[in-house]
Amino acid sequence: MVLIGAQVAMILTLVGVSRGVLGNMQRRAKGTGADILIRPADSSVTSFASNMPESIVDFVRGIEHVQIATGAMVHPISNFDTITGIHWDEFSKMSGGLALLKGKKFEKPDDMVVDQVFAAGHKLAPGTPFNFGHLWNITGIVEEGKLSATFVDIAALQDIFAEPGKISVVYVKVDDPKNIPIVIKSLQAQLTDYKIYSMEEFLSLFTTDRVPYVETFTKVVIVIAAVIGFLVVFLSMYMAVLERTREIGIMKAMGASPGYILGILLRETVVLSLAGTIVGIGMAYASRTLMASVAPNMPQLIVPDWYPWVTLIALGGSLVGAVYPGLKAARQDAIEALAYD
């Protein structure tokens, strides 16, 4: 039952983390306060290429109805961690400001400001040195939910990682929301080599089917989970049939048909699967707590809409696993089974 629970928890955790991470990214993108984004042609929803010349920002500022434009550089450190270089004042103006909870903004090239979730996860406080692709000095902690979890001065980031004058994205705020389509049209006409999104359109891209590999990875995990369920039930039912050979013989002596014996084992499998699913849902809650403490930048959502699916996957894998042992039991010779000790 616990092993069936583990397969269920595996699926729920994966889907929950996928949605949690994407939801987090969506919320942070929205938190920039921008109306339009300009990104390199080879970027995806979750990946940033730092190959746009920063001079584009000045060009964008010259377009009619553009109120604020600011560039940001996103530098990847590991699979899920990035450092974001910003112009503090410009970004604050656009987003309404990064709310400092502790310390102060970055001032020197090696200074870094992190959000509260990242700080808690890495046990950071103002004044703490932090090796994160470079030795940074934490100067402040801000409220989470805007753009990124880590902020440094964009010029310093470009310099440290040898990408001078390069940015990953331009955030644009328009003077009036009704002018967003006009500005987008103008940008699309003049910046033909870049992806230009309204914020609304960009946020709609944060779904698992739009992110490369997430959908495929989820399917692979589902197949693995179903195979685990199959093997677990197959082995446990096989053992159960062996252990209960005599009992099966007794029932056959009483006139139990092969269908009756198979029915008993399949009903037991269904109960085992459903109980395992409930255990798995509980384990998904436990994994959410665990994720929150060990990987706070990867929030896990609870996904009740997947409960019917995991139930079906657990049931399907288990029933397939129970068929062979069930048939073996149903076909047992009553006399041999009664003689079994």
């Binding site: 029932m251 009483m254 006139g255 139990a256 048909s257 009756y260 006399i335």
Partner: protein
Amino acid sequence: MTEIEVRGLSKTFRVGDVDVHALRGVDLKIEGGEFVAIVGPSGSGKSTLFNILGGLAPPSSGTVSLNGQDLAKLNDAGRTELRKKSVGFIFQKYNLLPTLTARDNIEIARDIAGKSGAWDPQYLELLRLLGIADRLDHKPRALSGGEQQRVAIARALVNGPALLLADEPTGNLDTENSNAVLGILKDLNKRLGQTILMITHNPEAAAFADRTVTMRDGRIVQ
């Protein structure tokens, strides 16, 4: 009344490359309501006859008529149906399902036979006769050997079988419990007219039957 007629019954098993002739032309007639004991040494064919009469195994040749139905012509499904409706078994090792209470052990026999609902008054009377009416909610491990065998008798009779087959029913019991169980079988035979065929190697147990049939080397010798 139930009548069992066995004619020219033989059963041959293949053990490796050797044919083992367990029954070699058995002829036997049991009248309805008779209590018959079959005695004989190990290997005489008692158990094989028991298995064929109970529909647990098919004969190699010959005819076995139970209430006019030829068991030799039944396939697996037919023999299953026979065991479900017409035969009740009592075994030496009681063979109760260990995870079920006495009541559920009886209920599962009814369930297999497709019966449900409350037990009829006659059956409740039978439980009182067996002395297990107040032990029904106990699992086998909480019952004595004698009680377990009486539950097994109750289970064997719950579907009103035409034939009650008992294989060494007192083999695991002490003298007191053996006599009690045999007394119950005798009483069931006399009161209800239950046809009983009991296999035993114990002459004292066989003495409870109306008639004793002796087997040796796959044949009835007396």
